[in-house]
């Protein structure tokens, strides 16, 4: 991959930056730049027409946001891992484990509860650390390493649960309340998610680590020759990603009121899709915070609309597939047209 980028990317963006450019190309570029947002708006319009008030209501708006919270948190974690040029198949299992751990441990005096949450997040980070070590020190391909670690995590999960879901202790209500109560119509979770997103944005855009992550992801060797400790950076990224997955798992338990053995597994593919949808937002195929958030919202709105409209199960699968391919395809293809067919694509 990267070897191709080395050849195409630069010029691509030269072309992209182009000011004195034909209207047609500019149109295409708009599609390229705004593929995902385009689909996003499109969905709003379509569902708006089909479902009117049902869809366009404050409550449904809040509803969509609430449903986006968990995927946003997990997808943001994955974003940083993708940015550093790696991949993580274990985040879903990681979230599941965090969920059951929370359910089994969260109780007692407030201080203890806080410690429990911190512990759970630490475990998530630890899993990330394990991934990072295996990827950097052993040099195992990230897909295999994280698949392996993921497998260990599932094993641990089974040790904790024997496979049956764990109910949150009776005194765990304030955890479930982050979903049920809040400021006015806005549940706490939305505020939490917003905070998490801001933190991630700051990490990526206002800290040296963020720059180093982009550097390592951009050209591993060049970054190391610049004196950046790529191994550390990669391990850090995996740890942050793991911690975010754990937070997602905690929220999952808060949402469901119990720790589900496989509760978080499903988030792997969806956050992954969200990240790529996001990479088609504004910047040219680069992963970033805003993009990921938009990506998640696009997916959630799509499913929310479908659910409200009430299409059959098979239709839901079709829509999901189409949505993914359309949004990502539109922007990548458009970008391709701008650059003209080239070697390496």
């Amino acid at each position: 991959m990267s070897s191709q980028n080395v050849i195409d990317r630069p010029v691509a963006t030269v072309a992209d930056r182009d000011a004195r450019d034909s209207a047609g190309r500019r149109a295409v570029r708009l599609i390229g730049r705004y593929g995902t947002p385009g689909v996003f708006v499109l969905l709003l319009i379509v569902f708006g027409i089909l479902e009117g008030g049902m869809f366009f209501s404050v409550s449904n708006f809040v509803n969509v946001l609430v449903q986006s919270v968990i995927p946003i948190v997990i997808a943001l974690g994955l974003t940083i891992i993708l940015l550093v040029g790696e991949f993580d198949l274990s985040i879903g299992y990681n979230a599941s484990l965090a969920g059951v751990l929370t359910a089994s441990l969260y109780s007692g005096p407030l201080i203890q509860k806080v410690l429990v949450l911190l512990l759970v997040i630490a475990v998530g980070a630890l899993i990330g650390f394990l991934n990072g070590i295996i990827v950097t020190k052993l040099g195992v391909n990230a897909l295999v390493a994280t698949l392996g670690v993921g497998s260990l995590v599932v094993g641990a999960n089974y040790l904790v649960t024997r496979g049956s879901p764990l109910t949150l202790k009776s005194d765990g209500t304030e955890l479930t309340n982050v979903f049920l109560s809040g400021i006015g119509p806005v549940p706490w979770v939305i505020i939490i998610a917003a905070a998490v997103a801001v933190v991630m944005w700051l990490v990526l855009n206002r800290t040296t680590l963020g720059l180093e992550i982009k550097a390592v992801g951009g050209n591993r060797v060049a970054s190391e020759l610049s004196g950046i400790r790529a191994h550390r950076v990669i391990i850090m990224s995996f740890m942050i990603g793991g911690a975010f997955a754990a937070i997602g798992g905690i929220l999952l338990t808060a949402n469901v009121g119990s720790g589900q053995v496989v509760g978080g597994d499903g988030y792997l593919l969806s956050s992954f899709a969200a990240c790529f949808l996001g990479s088609a937002v504004l910047r040219d195929g680069e992963f970033h915070t805003v993009g990921t958030v938009v990506g998640v919202l696009t997916i959630t709105i799509g499913f929310n609309g479908l659910a409200i409209y009430g299409v059959g199960a098979s239709a839901q699968f079709f829509f999901q597939g189409a949505l993914l391919i359309a949004a990502v395809g539109m922007s990548t293809a458009a970008r391709r047209i701008i650059m003209g067919r080239r070697i390496g694509h």
């Binding site: 449903q67 496979g163 049956s164 469901v256 496989v262 509760g263 659910a307 409200i308 009430g310």
Partner: protein, 295 residues
């Protein structure tokens, strides 16, 4: 829907057989009553189920039917429905209670597990293999029920092997063939295989065939086409058949009854209409229910 009554069904997933059949049956029943139906597939994830319920609330359905999930799995979904004053019914999720207006129990643990007990009563030595998908509520309920029933039968050695979805079938196949290798034919010892739903059952049967062992007693759920064949050739001894149509009708009736007088309503749980099909009653059963093979 405005004046037309709309029911929102939160389907467990699109791969669990009884979930599909039962959802289909419900739809039919509601349509018969001139009601609308909206189905969402929760892909086995409580969080998705909750989202689905919240979406139904947004749509303003008149009642929600949740498959399988127990009330503690979908707390905030139930809360959302409660706020909107929408009754939530449940199939296969265990007892109805404070936040569940009503339930049809279609796990059918008792009818099958009692058959197992009948066989092991004889007191001979038994090797029993359970293939359990613990995170699936029906499986868990069935397995817990079995264990309580077999508590006082020391002559039964239980080997538990877990399976997960997806892949339950090949896992069951591997687990079963391993178990068969580990427990060779020995006089005085009988083998029983107890898969908690259709997929592992299919896997177990093919493992038996592969190693050319048995067929041993096998008790399981979900009367599918393959299961009927298995009963006929003796590789299954007792399979629970959920009368999906009747149970769909039952939940419909329950909801209709609720609408007549929501205030005076008392939460209640009914057992799903079912039959246990064995080699002996197979033909008679098929006589009585031609629709099973028609499907």
């Amino acid at each position: 829907g405005d004046e037309a009554v709309t029911i929102g069904i939160v389907q467990l997933d699109t791969s669990t057989i009884f979930a599909n059949q039962e959802a289909e049956a419900q739809k039919a029943a509601y349509e018969a009553l001139g009601w609308e139906t909206v189905v969402t597939n929760s892909a086995g994830s409580p969080a998705t189920a909750i989202s689905a319920m919240q979406n139904f609330v947004q749509r303003g359905v008149d009642a929600i039917v949740v498959q399988t999930y127990t009330s503690e799995q979908i707390t905030s979904g139930l809360a959302a429905a409660k706020k909107a004053g929408i009754p939530v019914f449940n199939t296969a999720g265990g007892e109805a209670g404070v936040d569940m207006a009503g339930a049809i129990d279609i796990n059918l643990a008792e009818p099958i597990n009692s058959l197992v007990v009948d066989e092991v009563k004889s007191g001979e030595r038994f090797e029993l293999l359970t293939l359990v998908f613990e995170s699936g509520t029906p499986c868990r309920i069935r397995n817990d029920d079995l264990l309580t029933r077999l508590k006082d039968y020391p002559n039964v050695t239980i080997t538990r092997q877990d399976v997960i979805v997806p892949g339950a079938q090949q896992q069951a196949q591997q687990a079963t063939s391993g178990w068969l290798q580990a427990n060779p034919e020995t006089s005085g010892t009988k083998h029983i295989i107890w898969p908690c739903f259709a997929d592992p059952a299919v896997g177990a049967v093919s493992a038996e065939k592969q190693l050319d062992r048995g067929p041993y007693s096998m008790y399981t759920w979900d009367l599918t086409g393959p299961a009927i064949e298995a009963i006929r050739d003796g590789s299954m001894n007792g399979v629970a058949w959920l009368d999906a149509d009747k149970s769909g009708q039952a939940i419909a009736d329950m909801i209709e009854e609720y609408f007549e007088d929501p205030e005076g309503w008392e939460p209640r749980t009914e057992e799903g209409p079912h039959e246990v099909v064995t080699p002996d009653n197979l033909d008679a059963f098929l006589e009585k229910h031609p629709e099973v093979t028609a499907k």
